[in-house]
């Protein structure tokens, strides 16, 4: 990973941690902050990996929206 990619990932992780801190910050001590940053980094990296896989406009998500019409 290049330095700029590494910086970008760190920035995303930091932004997401700040989202959590804004909502729940009073719950987290230093150890919790370290664990949460690690958890966030794993998910950010996973998302990056999937963005590197090509998908086309026609590749739909693996669920079907079932419109409802109740009997009666």
């Amino acid at each position: 990973m290049s330095g700029s990619q590494s910086d970008a990932r760190a920035a995303v992780v930091e932004a997401r941690y700040q989202m959590l801190a804004a909502r729940f910050g009073d719950r987290f001590d230093a150890a919790a902050e370290e664990k949460l940053r690690a958890d966030l980094a794993k998910l950010v990296e996973a998302a990056e990996t999937l963005r590197s896989l090509p998908v086309a406009n026609g590749d739909e998500p693996d669920f079907v929206f079932p419109p409802v019409r109740r009997d009666g």
């Binding site: 729940f24 990296e45 998302a47 999937l50």
Partner: protein, 468 residues
């Protein structure tokens, strides 16, 4: 019969059914027998949350009266069982394995419990589980309100999870069968670690209505038994379309062992990752393949190359965060037993919708390619778990360090929703069982059970039981 009658304790559903119909025992005597074992041995293994004695004796008496009158509901009539404590049971606590939810009570039975009741099975216990079905990311066995679940084969080791109590209870002969659930290995892992036959059915085969949701598109319920054949008997009772769970399959499932093949199978053998499993696990798997070569042709297979773990992680973390949103928001998860579980749900709340949808789009591609692979075989075989059960007191990452914690076929199977049956293949270090998974296309449960039954005709690992 005493509560130490090993034959009764470890009898299969079929054997117990014969005893009931021949008059060698009765449903109430069976219920008393297993209730006694649950009450004495269950707490030693941290396997039980609630013993449902009153309900059990009521259901057992009803079964007894019905059978005596000639009304036979089928193979499960009068057979005791345990339910993983994420299945709602009317008026009986359903804790989800979580200390803050110890007193949670629902007013109605889950569909799976109703179906077993309709089949005449007798609920004797709500069984221990890893809190929140492991969805908060536990990394060691002390992750339940009931304490560390102890493996009947070696009580200094854990059972596997999250269907920990289900695994321990069947293995120790406390119940003839149990219902577990799987999102990412929670039936296969305890089945493998405890030497059982455990079936993760196709996604949608069994209604999830009334079962705790961890991940709506990954969760499945399934039977954990002594034999592959018994899993078919239980699955037939559990399966079926449920309007309360829109994901359930409309096709009817019938277990028809009389029509099953006993040989002539075509099996794919997945050896990818075998360099990252314990030596005994690998050796026992290869021995199992040798045994299967008597009834099957075997051909090596390779999985399509995708980042299965990343797809799985994004889907599990975001759906789990949504499913437990209220508990996370209100801080209830701070009361969970494992320290890592008290923080495990937060990161998933930050996954974006676009990230989740990309994972679901890649998932569709994976599923199409995997189905094409599986369609060439009756089943594909691979170790069910990469190691034997780890010692209590040791983190999973630490124990698994020389090998890999993640089993590629288990991750893929849960992503794709295809079924897999775990069967015992022998023993590894510290006297603990090893297992093989027999996986196949969506809807192929009968083929998997046929392969498993053929294997269990050639071997006797499934018939071995721990000394209590």
């Amino acid at each position: 019969m005493s509560v130490n009658d090993d034959h009764l304790s470890f009898a299969t559903i079929r054997e117990l059914g014969r005893m009931l119909r021949s008059g060698d025992t009765t449903p109430t005597r069976l219920a008393e027998h297993f209730l006694g074992r649950l009450e004495t041995i269950g707490p030693e293994l941290n396997a039980v949350v609630t013993i449902t004695r009153e309900r059990a004796m009521r259901e057992a008496q009803l079964a007894e009266d019905e059978l005596a009158s000639g009304y036979d509901r089928g193979p499960l009539h009068g057979i005791p069982y345990g339910a993983k404590d994420l299945l709602a049971t009317a008026g009986i606590p359903t804790s989800w394995g979580a200390e803050p939810l110890r007193g949670q009570v629902f007013s109605d039975d889950a569909t799976a419990v109703k179906k077993l009741r309709d089949a005449g099975a007798v609920l004797v216990a709500k069984l221990a589980m890893i809190e929140m079905a492991g969805g908060m990311g536990y990394n060691q066995p002390v992750a339940s309100l009931t304490g560390a679940p102890r493996n009947p084969w070696n009580r200094d080791s854990w059972t596997g999870g999250s269907s920990s109590g289900s695994g321990a209870s069947v293995a120790a002969g406390l119940v003839p069968f149990a219902i577990g659930s799987e999102t990412g290995g929670s039936i296969l892992s305890p089945s493998s670690y405890c030497g059982l036959s455990g079936l993760r059915p196709s996604y949608g085969r069994v209604s999830r209505h009334g079962a705790m949701a961890l991940c709506w598109t990954l969760d499945k319920l399934g039977p954990m038994c002594h034999t592959a054949d018994d899993t078919g008997l239980v699955l037939e009772a559990l399966a079926g379309y449920d309007p309360a769970d829109g994901s359930t399959l409309r096709e009817t499932y019938r277990y028809e062992p009389e029509h099953a093949r006993a040989l002539g199978f075509r099996l794919g053998v997945l050896r990818q990752g075998l360099d990252q499993v314990q030596p005994e696990v690998k050796a026992n798997f290869e021995a199992a393949c040798d045994a299967l070569s008597n009834v099957a042709t075997l051909e090596e297979v390779v999985l399509p190359d995708y980042p299965y773990g990343d797809v799985y992680a994004l889907i599990l973390s975001s759906e789990g965060a949504a499913a437990f949103e209220d508990l996370i928001e209100q801080g209830v998860i701070s009361g969970l037993t494992a320290p890592e579980d008290r923080l495990g749900g937060y990161a998933g709340t930050t996954v974006t919708a676009v990230e989740y949808l990309r994972a679901m789009r890649v998932r569709r591609r994976i599923n199409d390619e995997v189905d094409a692979l599986l369609s060439r075989y009756d089943a594909v075989v691979h170790p069910a778990s990469n190691t034997v059960a780890s010692p209590i007191g040791v983190n999973f990452d630490v124990y698994a360090k020389p090998w890999s914690r993640r089993n590629a076929l288990t991750s893929l199977g849960n992503l794709s929703g295809f079924p897999a049956l775990s069967v015992a293949t022998g023993f590894g270090e510290r006297g603990l069982p090893t297992g093989m998974q027999i996986a196949g296309r969506v809807g192929s449960e009968n083929a998997l059970i046929a392969v498993g039954s053929a294997y269990q005709q050639l071997t006797d690992w499934h018939a071995q039981h721990p000394k209590n």
